[in-house]
């Protein structure tokens, strides 16, 4: 193992009196003071937050929201993978169940009945976005989430969809439907049946 022993020089009596470091400290703080204080330099680097807004860089991981497709339909199919993967268990999905509301877009059979993210628990890790097979949830640029109660910070499906906006992707289920329709119909119709579309 290559351990390099750094020699520690013993301090001289003068240095041990704290006086040189004290003076050095005074110098450092004075220089900063001089640069920043009004009438002397006045170059604060503080951003005046509410008036001045930070430019959020690309790839920033803000709050996760649900997105809609180009036609304004819910993309989420309630597969619950994000709920499963979420490290702080911030996501809670209520699946539609047997008699649930059908999905609001053609050919997708399933849509969440309720989708909640507890923004107080969320750690903005982005695993939900990464795991989503439907490209339905994205970490967006919101970093300033506020509320006056804990309940208010649990965002429901409606709110998440509203905040999330639209994500134009390949519309997987629509694509499948078009493909099925373009194909020849079946030689024999098997009854009883109901096609999903």
């Amino acid at each position: 193992m290559s351990t390099k022993v750094v020699e520690r020089k013993p301090l001289s009596a003068w240095e041990r009196s704290y006086i040189p470091s004290f003076l050095g400290g005074l110098g450092v703080t004075w220089n900063h003071f001089k640069r920043t204080a009004p009438f002397l330099g006045n170059k604060p680097i503080t951003m005046e937050y509410p008036e001045q807004k930070w430019v959020v860089p690309e790839g920033y991981r803000g709050a996760p929201y649900l997105v809609k497709d180009q036609e304004g339909a819910t993309k989420c199919v309630s597969c619950q993978l994000c709920e499963f993967v979420c490290p702080p268990k911030a996501i809670r999905i209520t699946p539609p169940g047997e008699n649930g509301q059908p999905a609001d877009r053609a050919n997708a059979e399933k849509m969440p009945r309720e989708f909640e993210i507890n923004m107080l628990r969320c750690i903005f890790c982005g695993l939900c976005q990464e795991v989503c097979p439907e490209e339905a949830i994205f970490l967006q640029k919101d970093y300033s989430l506020t509320g006056t109660s804990r309940e208010e910070m649990v965002y429901n499906k409606e709110k998440l969809l509203k905040l999330g906006g639209t994500h134009a992707g390949i519309q997987k289920w629509k694509h499948k439907l078009e493909e099925a329709e373009a194909q020849e119909s079946f030689p024999v119709a098997t009854e009883p049946q109901k096609h999903s579309h």
Partner: protein, 181 residues
């Protein structure tokens, strides 16, 4: 619509069953006979066969759906079978079929045989009719038409539309082969 099998046919079929060691083996013969008599194998025919042979309807239904020669719907008076296999396909049978379907207002993309609402025509895309040398070929009822051109197809259709009410397959349709040369 009540379903009844005439007594002589039933007797013939009952006798047929005895030829086989297992009743079930007679299924295909039953279906052929019923299709010959009724023109197609109706759901009732399937149930009747199953009851006769001590099977469940689904067992017979599996057979019916497996073989394309069994029809589950009544056919049109004129049954146009267009060959789709290689030689005919190269010689333009797809366009030919397209023409038939378009003229008759049928869906040219459908896989299954298509019948016009008035019951006069059925157009079907079939596998090889064994006349590759004279592609494209069309089998109209029992008659083979070789080297079918667009004009010949028109003629088939016009002759078919005259066959109103006539017994299926009894009136020969001629003249197409000449036009093809």
């Amino acid at each position: 619509m009540s379903f009844s099998v005439p007594a002589p046919l039933e007797a013939r079929l009952d006798e047929l069953v005895t030829h086989y060691p297992v009743k079930r083996s007679a299924s295909l013969m039953f279906l052929h006979a019923l299709q010959e008599h009724f023109g197609y194998v109706s759901r009732e025919a399937v149930e009747w066969t199953a009851a006769k042979l001590g099977l469940q309807p689904i067992n017979v239904y599996e057979l019916v759906t497996f073989y394309p020669m069994f029809r589950q719907e009544p056919l049109g008076t004129t049954h146009v079978k267009v060959c789709r296999t290689l030689s005919c396909a190269l010689a333009g049978s797809a366009a030919l079929r397209e023409q038939f379907c378009k003229k008759l207002g049928l869906d040219s993309h459908a896989h299954a045989p298509q019948t016009t609402p008035d019951g006069k025509f059925t157009v079907e895309f079939v596998e090889c009719l064994a006349a590759c040398g004279s592609a494209p070929v069309v089998l109209v009822n029992e008659d083979l038409h070789e080297r079918v051109t667009a004009q010949a197809a028109e003629k088939i259709l016009s002759e078919g539309s005259r066959l109103e009410g006539a017994a299926k397959g009894k009136t020969p349709v001629k003249g197409a082969s000449g036009a093809a040369s």
